[in-house]
């Protein structure tokens, strides 16, 4: 999809920036990397509109993991033998790959975890537990996923602290002045999502961090939906923590990343105890390993880390601006298509959104809509999207959510519209 050019790096950047967007991004070519997209579902071509739940995996990711198992597998950080050395190189190479992706200052600021949920739990129960005491407050937004609510709620219960919520408006936009008003003298942590999984709202994280830091409050960012769509430069955002999952960014399940500023990670107590997180153990005393290993007890998900690195390589090889423009164009087209369906209301109309289209349709229950669409080969998510407080705020029980990825096409959004007409015929 990109012409073979081998100029020096600065020239390459220039070439990329000036290439017309529509020429640079070939979605059919991108789809070829995903064999699953070619399989029929229920006798029809698959229309996969559930990438916010999990993305499909491009071939290079699957191949990198297979290669690791076939050629390099051994336990890391332990053996003196050849394969252990190779596995350690692969695993630590993946950490360095993630460092470049997030533009962290050093690779030791990246902790490999199972996913965003585990990352947020880790922060809550190390950093949070050390910082939050009786009468203190933890601030979250009204649009958080359960995984950025429940760990903080558990912590607040344990520490007899208070969970405070920053409100949103009816479009699903976080109210920054209301957020700032809630940053009080007892606020110890602000936990906020980069992008809403249910609505697609993009939060101005950089601005939020500035506001919070002015009140000396550290910021934990849930990047599960942000990292797959937006630049996640942790130095630019200046957030204290940033968490994301491999499987939502074209990588495998079971691997995710917690970024934490070194000064925080150094000061944090360990989380889980076990092998690899120690320097020495006696029955009297254990000395903990340096960061990030202090937070990686047990044999890690080595193949997962390799797969994640491969997914970041795969992304980096795409013409990035054109890829983002493709997603933006899909969002605009999808918004237009769905808006033309009588009786359909899009939920989440923030001016700054990623390609997530949440909606309700007549008074037909989203579950019934999902079942009928499924029979047309169309995969959407229905329900509360693990954001029940957000649904309550919006006065809804559930929505249908079509979430898009780099492989989706306009034709698939047209298919969604046709499917919805079938839903109407069945239930109207």
């Amino acid at each position: 999809m990109v012409a073979q050019v081998h100029p020096s790096p600065p020239e390459a950047e220039v070439v990329r920036l000036h290439r017309p967007v529509h020429e640079a991004y070939d979605v059919e070519r991108v789809r070829c990397d995903f064999p699953i997209l070619a399989r029929p579902v229920r006798g029809r071509p698959l229309v996969y509109l559930d990438s916010a739940a999990t993305t499909q995996k491009p071939r290079p990711v699957v191949e990198a993991m297979a290669r690791f198992f076939d050629q390099e597998n051994a336990n890391v950080h332990r053996g003196v033998h050849f394969l252990s050395e190779r596995a350690t190189e692969a695993y630590e190479g993946a950490r360095e790959r993630v460092r470049r992706f997030l533009n962290a200052r050093q690779a030791s600021e990246l902790v490999f975890v199972r996913g965003t949920t585990e990352a947020l739990n880790l922060v809550a129960f190390t950093f949070g537990r050390a910082r939050v005491g009786p009468g203190d407050e933890v601030l979250v937004s009204a649009m958080e996923h359960h995984s950025n609510i429940v760990p903080w709620q558990m912590l607040c219960e344990e520490r007899r602290a208070k969970l405070v919520v920053a409100p949103i408006d009816d479009r699903g936009v976080l109210l920054l002045d209301e957020l700032e008003r809630r940053l009080g003298p007892r606020t110890r942590v602000l936990a906020v999502t980069h992008v809403s999984n249910a609505l697609g709202t993009v939060n101005p994280v950089k601005r939020i961090v500035e506001i919070a830091h002015a009140h000396e409050v550290p910021v934990v960012v849930d990047g599960a939906q942000g990292a797959p769509h937006l630049p996640a430069d942790v130095q630019d955002l200046d957030c204290d923590f940033y968490a994301f999952s491999g499987h939502k960014i074209y990588g495998p399940t079971g691997i995710g990343v917690l970024y934490g500023k070194a000064e925080h990670l150094e000061a944090m107590p360990p989380w889980q105890g076990g092998g690899d997180m120690i320097l020495s153990v006696t029955f009297e005393k254990t000395t903990y390993n340096r960061i990030p290993y202090r937070f990686e007890a047990g044999t890690p998900n080595m193949a997962g880390a390799v797969g994640l690195a491969a997914s970041l390589d795969w992304l980096a090889a795409l013409p990035l601006e054109a890829a983002r423009a493709h997603e933006e164009a899909l969002l605009a087209y999808g918004t237009e298509v769905l808006s033309s369906v009588p009786g359909l209301r899009i939920v989440g109309t923030a001016p700054d959104k990623v390609a997530v289209l949440s909606f309700v349709f007549e008074d037909i229950h989203p579950h019934d809509i999902g079942t009928v669409l499924d029979r047309e080969g169309i995969a959407v998510r229905t329900g509360h999207h693990c954001a029940q407080p957000l649904m309550q705020r919006l006065g809804l029980q559930a929505t249908v959510r079509a979430s898009l990825g780099l492989y989706n096409t306009r034709g698939e959004l047209d298919a969604l519209k046709v499917g919805l007409e079938k839903v109407r015929r069945m239930f109207a």
């Binding site: 037909i364 579950h367 009928v372 329900g383 029980q397 079938k422 239930f427």
Partner: protein, 150 residues
């Protein structure tokens, strides 16, 4: 439209989903239970008036998808006036119907519940159809607690 889909959303189901029977609160109910499906947010309250061993009145309110609402409507219609033992036997037949299929149960014994015969082809929807039945079981066992299908 696939025929499995037509089997799931039979006219009886669509009718009961749109116009559920026994959709009200019973004042003075002496048994009560809630059914909650955390996956999709379906939430029903079930009210019973038990006279000794007989279900004198039964009704429900709340909200949910067409399948869960129709199932609640059909269930309340089917067991009103029945004894607890008869209701439990009905539950067993219903359960076999939605998990194993119409071949495994006598359709004549099911009455209108037979309209739920298409559910077994949709494993993700069995929970919807079962929700209110689990609430019934909980109400009959005098455990006025929220039951979930998760």
């Amino acid at each position: 439209m696939s025929s499995e889909l037509d089997d799931l959303y039979q006219d009886v189901i669509l009718d009961h989903g749109r116009k559920p029977r026994n959709f009200r609160k019973i004042e003075g109910a002496n048994r009560q239970a809630e059914g909650l499906n955390p996956l999709c947010g379906d939430h029903f309250k079930l009210y019973l008036k038990l006279d000794g061993d007989r279900i004198e009145d039964i009704a429900f309110d709340g909200s949910g998808c067409a399948i869960s609402k129709a199932s609640a409507s059909l269930m309340t219609s089917a067991i009103k006036g029945k004894t607890v033992a008869e209701a439990e036997a009905m539950f067993a037949r219903f359960h076999t119907l939605v998990t194993e299929g119409p071949d495994k149960v006598s359709m004549a014994d099911l009455g209108k519940l037979a309209a739920l015969s298409g559910v077994c082809e949709f494993p993700t929807r069995v929970k919807c159809a079962s929700l209110v039945w689990h609430a019934l079981k909980s109400a009959l066992a005098s455990q006025p607690t929220v039951v979930t299908t998760e």
